[in-house]
Symmetry: none
Subunit: 220 residues, 4 copies
Amino acid sequence: MSTDHRPDLKPASVRGRSRDPVATSQALLDAALSEFAEHGFEGGRVDRIAAQAGVNKQLVYHYFGNKDELYRAVLESVYRQIREREQELHLGDAEPEEAMRRLVGFSFDYLAENPQFIALVNDENRLAARHLKASEQVAAMHSPLVQQIEQTLLRGLKAGVFNDRFGPVNLYLSIAALSFFYFSNKNTLSVIFDRDMTSSAQIARRRQHVIELVMAALRP
Amino acid sequence: MSTDHRPDLKPASVRGRSRDPVATSQALLDAALSEFAEHGFEGGRVDRIAAQAGVNKQLVYHYFGNKDELYRAVLESVYRQIREREQELHLGDAEPEEAMRRLVGFSFDYLAENPQFIALVNDENRLAARHLKASEQVAAMHSPLVQQIEQTLLRGLKAGVFNDRFGPVNLYLSIAALSFFYFSNKNTLSVIFDRDMTSSAQIARRRQHVIELVMAALRP
Amino acid sequence: MSTDHRPDLKPASVRGRSRDPVATSQALLDAALSEFAEHGFEGGRVDRIAAQAGVNKQLVYHYFGNKDELYRAVLESVYRQIREREQELHLGDAEPEEAMRRLVGFSFDYLAENPQFIALVNDENRLAARHLKASEQVAAMHSPLVQQIEQTLLRGLKAGVFNDRFGPVNLYLSIAALSFFYFSNKNTLSVIFDRDMTSSAQIARRRQHVIELVMAALRP
Amino acid sequence: MSTDHRPDLKPASVRGRSRDPVATSQALLDAALSEFAEHGFEGGRVDRIAAQAGVNKQLVYHYFGNKDELYRAVLESVYRQIREREQELHLGDAEPEEAMRRLVGFSFDYLAENPQFIALVNDENRLAARHLKASEQVAAMHSPLVQQIEQTLLRGLKAGVFNDRFGPVNLYLSIAALSFFYFSNKNTLSVIFDRDMTSSAQIARRRQHVIELVMAALRP
DNA sequence: AATGAATGAGTTTTCATTCAT
DNA sequence: TATGAATGAAAACTCATTCAT
């Protein structure tokens, strides 16, 4: 009533929040990624996501339906991103040993640089992967690494530089584990070992160790 | 059902719990462990903890001060328990290789049997280890495994069955990682690889792989 | 399901509805009738009305101004319809007793077949008839039944088959009441009397009773 | 934190809202009755109920679980009240005709004086009697009037003052209908007939008519 | 005429915590 | 030690309405 004629002098591009659906929903997705990575799904606040995206809270529901589906969209986006990066490793171009070093190094570096991915994956595990299960996209996004590992192992075996003890899936899990665990648990490990696991020196040492360990295990 | 919430009108003498402080606070601790493991710190509900312990909600505050301190008490108890179990491994009794197998197997089995420990540790990491930092006890509970690994490595080196590539802390982290990651991420991995990582067959295969991998890496 | 809410990206030329104002506003009116009858004015959702009409929500405001005026339009339409039906009873054609039976029967049958009319009238009463008061149309739509009752009563009195105890307005109210109450309260009555008031057998018995009661009361 | 020591100088009896569970839950029930009668179940606001009762909103949930159960409690209380009042009619004490007049008069007067009962019953009918169905109490509260009507009819039949045309249940429904409809629809009727149905003169005339109609219909 | 984007105020419900006894 | 009553702040989600095109 009394606000019918409120004078709002901001230009439309600012007032109406750009009226650019793509930009708006992307802004929400970005904000949601930060929020959920920091606070988890349950701890994440729709209000804060909207505020950080600079849009009205209702738009979360307009674009994504509800908090769960927003979370799912975030998960899909981070999985899509890591899969894209994995595609870019052309391990076939290198000698088996070099290829394997590159792969382990990539795995380590990606997790070092993407703590949000780790946070989201951990959270999704606590939630029994219910958003992942609901996602048709992610289920279809098989990691190309398993195949690349398989081929690299085969090449290394033929070249006499690798043994044949380890299956590609388990080896993939181990490579992921050696890096993931370190970054995922850096806070408690720092307390328990009374040393800063986040220092670049420690990280560099860990990187070295992980690559060494895998290479040592693969030796014939 | 319909009247669950109605305040009950039984006299205090009937309602009153055991009035056994030790039992009461232990019941709260047990309930809190389940609750926080299942829902995390933020998702954990004081009401449910009190209800499951069968005591009044206020007693949580009476015995533990607040939700944070209760959580800290839970953390302390689970760390104390794993440290106690670790003490029971007498690795010095066995040959280096057997000792190392036993150690890796123990680490795997303990995590397989204690999913609540994993859940709590993950949650505490999300919370930047703030409860752990506040705990004087846990900080003092260094894992005895590091020393045992160190000694075992040394014995193995002397016996010519191990190499000297890996420091005890990093090796400890790797052993933990190979098991922890598998159980911690079993839900998302099951979806992504479209196979049930919780089946006893998969677990047995993983256990075998982890031990093999470590032993292979340690070979001279 | 999962992507229901996502804004659709079809070009306007495809999305665009009929662009037939009459059809569009009639579709809205029909949808609003169902919605308000089922959920009441406050419970009725503009979104659902637009969705069910298959048109954009904004058109509600374009054609009707706001929710209140839409509701008023619905009320006007249902009152118009019942008045039209009442006009079609030509009670003067029949003997007084037969005319009265026909009238009571019509009243019963109309309410039996138009539960939405009952729902709307009840709702409007809760709202203190504010939409009806705002309607110039409905105020002018006097029921022709009162006059027809008056004339039938007079003919019956002259013919010696009716008494002169009851005024036409009160008799009209009573005839309406005997049927309206039954259908309006069928849900609670079914629970309280533990019998299904909506079964055709019960309805038939009630119809018989209502006619009998009125005829008995009118006997000289 | 900063509010730990807020000085609150009101006496406990005022501040702590009396800490009298019976009084508190009764205050909530009274407030809920008014609120739901005025706005219906969906339109009724938990906030307003708590405010009017002068208690914290959460106590609604503490005492009643949720809005639905609070509504059910209100329904149970109004049905209990009317059943109690009905019990107090000792129709056996009077001659059949006098007894029937008294009964019809009571029914009329009760509804005249309890518009909230009418509002709640109408609302519950819109909701398909779902709260009533959920109530074990109300289902068991059969109106004693049906039996009293049956006995009065029988006595009147024997005394030669009543006919035997009408069954007790249908007659009960008709008696209720003649009064209920008038009060339930007073707002729309006032507009349509352009006369104030709520004036005491109109009400008195209606009362007279209802009794007359029933008595006329019962005449042999 | 018609659309989808955007908004602000509000709605039920939840929760950790404190109070009074 | 133990209880149930009570609180204030916030959470997800909804809704009638308006804006920009």
